[in-house]
């Protein structure tokens, strides 16, 4: 198995961009990543696109605008973890010596999609929970209520990750929302699914993020900054049981255990984490599942300021899904871009000083009777 380098990253503005097509956004991000990599596009040997909704032959269509045709291309869907999955597949191709360089383009145009204007339900038409009214916000609202009931979490606690991530996004030029909110403003925003209010739910976002990956030998021809993928893991959820607390993200635990082991590190070695924060309270559960604090200590860990920029282990310095935005298929790729920027020292105002090791995590998908989200991915990156 060979080392794989993140050679180029690129991201579009994230926001409500109803006049931008998938091809426009995707090719914008791809061009930025190719330019950032400093390569001739004809060096791309393999391509993956990631898009969760309304998708068809996106890689071919986007790369048509770049001048790349004929090569092996795949279009990948794993709900919100699509972007991570595409990165993982390209990493695998290069790590196992099948190809030397390729591109991943994650993209979503949500504001003009079939999901626009409503709460996102489980996708299966006969999904039992979908029929009785479950949506992404309600599934996380149930988790929030459980945190209040079993951990003494206050409404302020549930809202805190949103306060932090909105504040962080003010330093991210491509963020959808660049405005800080007080905890009162977040709690008093429109109620969606009690106890989750509007500003505790990620917005609908259009945008794209792309990465160029290559072997170490190829990378050395272009750069001295070798940001490597130390490990990459994709896993799925299991059958739900009534024995387990929904505040325990067992799939994320399994993912992170495997990612740490393969990378030869532990949670204490991380300098930053970018993770799925589609709904504010889930960050608390993620802290525990990723092992950055002890099980059951998520709230006190958060209250200590540990996950702020400048804290012990900054989480979502980008502004996260909550404030940077969440174009579903792009997010898993976007988190790899973000971590790479910090490891290179190129993250601008929100830079985590001296960052050497970072985690990019993204999860998604909902199926009745499973531990949700049902799909997830983690890449650990090292400088």
């Amino acid at each position: 198995m060979r080392d794989v380098v993140v050679l180029g990253v690129g991201q579009t503005m994230f926001g409500k961009l109803p006049n931008s097509t998938v091809d426009e956004l995707g090719s914008q991000a791809a061009k930025k990543a190719i330019e950032d990599a400093g390569i001739d596009p004809r060096g791309i040997q393999i391509a993956y696109s990631a898009r969760a909704v309304d998708a068809q032959v996106n890689a071919q269509s986007i790369l048509k605008r770049i001048g790349i045709t004929r090569i092996e291309m795949h279009n990948v869907e794993n709900a919100c973890a699509s972007g991570s999955t595409a990165v993982h597949l390209l990493w695998k191709d290069i790590a196992y010596g099948i190809y030397d360089m390729g591109i991943v383009i994650g993209v979503e145009t949500m504001t003009t999609s079939s999901l626009a204007g409503r709460l996102i339900p489980p996708s299966g038409k006969d999904d039992l929970n979908r029929l009785v009214g479950e949506t992404m916000p309600s599934s996380f609202a149930l988790i929030g209520r459980r945190l209040m009931e079993t951990r003494g979490a206050t409404r302020e606690d549930l809202a805190y990750p949103s306060v932090k991530n909105h504040r962080n996004a003010c330093m991210n030029p491509v963020a959808q929302y660049k405005k800080p909110f007080t905890v009162e403003e977040i709690i008093n925003s429109k109620m969606v699914c009690d106890p989750l209010t509007l500003f505790q739910c990620c917005p609908f976002t259009d945008g794209s993020a792309a990465v160029v990956l290559c072997s170490e030998a190829v990378a050395k021809r272009h750069t001295t900054k070798l940001i490597k993928i130390a490990s990459s893991v994709i896993m799925s959820g299991d059958y739900e049981t009534a024995d387990e607390e929904i505040t325990r993200f067992s799939t994320v635990e399994r993912l992170s255990n495997a990612a740490y082991e393969k990378a030869g590190i532990g949670p204490k070695d991380l300098d930053l984490i970018e993770l799925h924060d589609a709904f504010s309270p889930e960050e608390i559960c993620a802290y525990e599942a990723l092992g950055i604090c002890n099980p059951g200590d998520g709230i006190s860990f958060m209250r200590s300021g540990a996950t702020e920029i400048g804290g012990k282990i900054p989480v979502n310095p980008s502004g996260g899904l909550l404030s940077l935005g969440h174009p579903l298929g792009a997010s898993g790729t976007r988190v790899v871009c973000e971590v790479t920027l910090h490891l290179r020292g190129e993250a601008g105002e929100r830079q985590i000083r001296g960052a050497k090791v970072g985690m990019a995590e993204m999860v998604g998908g909902y199926i009745a009777g499973m531990t949700n989200p049902v799909a997830g991915g983690i890449q650990i990156l090292k400088n």
Binding site: L128, E134, S138, A141, L142, R145, T241
Partner: protein, 127 residues
Amino acid sequence: MGDRVFIRDDIFKEGPNGISLVANKCTSCGKIAFPKTDYCLHCFNKEMKEVELSRKGKLYSYTISYYPVSKFKPPHAMGLIDLPEGIRILAPLVMSDGGFKVGAEMEMVIDTVWTEDDKEVIGYKFR
């Protein structure tokens, strides 16, 4: 009474006690499958036994949606109910002026959940 259909065909059973939720149970490992499955998805044993689910359970968590969801108008309450059979199901909750309390015992009602094409759609709720 007009025409009626079930919210899903494979989860109800009409018996002497009225309509109940029906699942099946593995004759080898004892795990419950709801909705029913052809074989046990945990131990792969082929023999499953039909079981009627209890009508009472404990409220594990709840939420109220203030946006339309599925075919429900807001506000729409839902809860996770822990049944004595060792499974947890999501169900609409009957709205209550006093709100909901985690840990409370809830009872199932079989009732119309919405109307579609002049048909009453029958589903399960807890109160």
